[in-house]
Symmetry: C2
Subunit: 332 residues, 2 copies
């Protein structure tokens, strides 16, 4: 009998349909992509992107020239643009406003590689520092309400470029998924006087079945109600509402943890397309007892079909307990 499970953070019901279960090797997918003949993100091609917004560079190197380790540029085809005013208005019964916001690309290395998992831990740490720097810089603009750092790897996960990169989009309203998350965390806190994700961490540590990796300050686990096969969350163990306030030592540990769980996914699932999304608190909010930042990694092995689009339910053929056991076993 399949299970219906509810994710307490997103309030989403998920169907865990073991009868449809598959082994990891049964998922057919295109690989993460092939190196293109021309790579606009490679060192030496700095003039092929819009001028850089930020970069970690060798001392003495000039902007938009070689000599960088991590480089941030505006998206060439931005979904949202930083100039202008919101101009909220109606069109008959419809609501419309200008697409004000920001859309940046974080080029994670000068090398033409499809993933940062082959880079040294110290380089992955630089990428995380850059996420933080960009979030801190963008939230100085009071028109911006939320910033989402995310990564698309592979065509069916939405990537159009091979070279490893992340994106940051700032929106002028708090997105619905984030609103639902903060609302459920707040409702849970009001009822229990405890943080929902702190309680989840405690339960996962005690039940063990869904834990993928446990290090000092971070728990990596398959959530109880994952939308997708091998969906994996990284959650800081001490309560923290803002990724941006992470200390230096914890940031180093996060780089270590993130690189290794991505290595497990890339090796165990044979270079699958995947996304990850960093959920930190909305901009201009103080430290919160309710919300607890986290990172969600979602391999894209199953298509989303009419049932999901029509209901908001997801059908997942791999129970998270099986997914966690599999990922625990992948040696990296």
């Amino acid at each position: 009998m399949p299970d219906l499970r509810k994710d307490p953070v997103s309030q989403r019901w998920v169907i865990i349909a073991q009868e449809r279960a598959k082994r990891p090797s049964d998922f057919v997918h295109e690989p993460m992509g092939e190196a293109p003949s021309f790579d606009p993100f490679a060192e030496g091609n700095e003039d092929k992107t819009p001028p850089e917004i930020a970069a970690y560079r060798d001392r003495g190197s000039a902007p938009n020239k070689p000599g960088w380790r991590v480089r941030v540029v505006p998206n060439k085809f931005p979904a949202l643009q930083v100039e202008g005013h919101l101009n909220k208005r109606g069109d008959g019964l419809y609501d419309i406003m200008h697409g004000l916001g920001a859309h940046e690309v974080i080029i994670e290395t000068p090398q033409s590689v499809p993933s940062f998992t082959g880079l040294p831990d110290a380089h992955v740490l630089d990428i995380l520092w850059m996420y933080r720097d960009r979030l801190l810089d963008l939230q100085r603009d009071m028109r911006m309400k939320y910033g989402l750092v995310f990564k698309n790897v592979g065509a069916s996960a939405g990537a159009t470029l091979y070279h490893t990169h992340s994106q940051l989009i700032c929106t002028p309203i708090v997105p619905s998924i984030m609103s639902i998350k903060t609302q459920s965390c707040e409702a849970y806190y009001k009822f229990h006087e405890r943080c929902l994700l702190c309680d989840m961490v405690a339960q996962e540590l005690s039940q063990k079945a869904r834990v993928v990796a446990d290090s000092g300050s971070f728990l990596t686990f398959a959530p109880f109600a994952p939308r997708f096969p091998f969906e994996t969350w990284i959650v800081p163990k001490p309560h923290s509402s803002h990724f941006e306030t992470l200390g230096r030592v914890a940031m180093e540990e996060l780089a270590f943890v993130l690189k290794r769980v991505l290595l497990k996914i890339e090796k165990g699932l044979e270079q699958p397309p995947y996304n990850y999304m960093l959920f930190t608190s909305p901009f201009h909010t103080g430290p919160s007892e309710h919300f607890h930042w986290h990172l969600e990694i979602t391999p894209r092995l199953t298509p989303v079909a009419g049932f999901e689009w029509g209901t908001g339910f997801y059908i997942n053929p791999v129970p998270p307990e099986d997914a966690a056991e599999f990922l625990r076993g992948v040696k990296v």
Copy 2:
């Protein structure tokens, strides 16, 4: 400057990013699929599916034998199952229940074809009558709260079989997307004493720019805030909360309209993968002044990426006004 537009029914914000605009021919996609060497849904292979639940058959033909026009069977790998009890329970802080429900496959023709658009209008009408028959039969089970009829065409829209078919899934709770739709329709009604979709139909008819086809009882249009390029809705013009109560003449018109809009999409967009979803009222609800049933057709030309998964926002490079103009121009 991109627009941020809100769909009043789903409460979803969508980014219409014209700067990223593409012509229909710029969308690269796999075709709808190739005819398989073996087709379990073809006439003569009735023993290759679970025994039929319902069929429209030639007089005198036996169940699970040739001689049918439309045939319904249980899904061989059901996401939800009809036997047993819900058994709602907790697992620590998590919520879980048995995957009670129904999951049926409506085989739309004995012929091995990937779409019903090549069949006579009278045959398409039979498919719609079968949708109605199955919804009416399943809602006799008081454990079922909602029934969604949907269609997946092409691998990236979630189809695993070439032979044209629809599916019907019944769930033991009203799905979140349907809850949000009914809630926004109810809130609009409370404020205006009018039905939201009736007002949308009136505005679309007056503005004309998003209308794809206008027939006596149905309006076909690109919604103001479409998630996907060329997303198209079919809405009955007279207010009606339940698809199941549609009269004979209107049902014939719907068959005519649905076949022709799908022909436009298949021809104009070169056999794209697509989904459609039929949103009728939840089971066991009486006629409602608020909710207005409708059918959503969503071609799947753009991948869903980290930004959409992380925010619930969608980025659509094709303004609905352009999409409607294009589809109006496709001759079928």
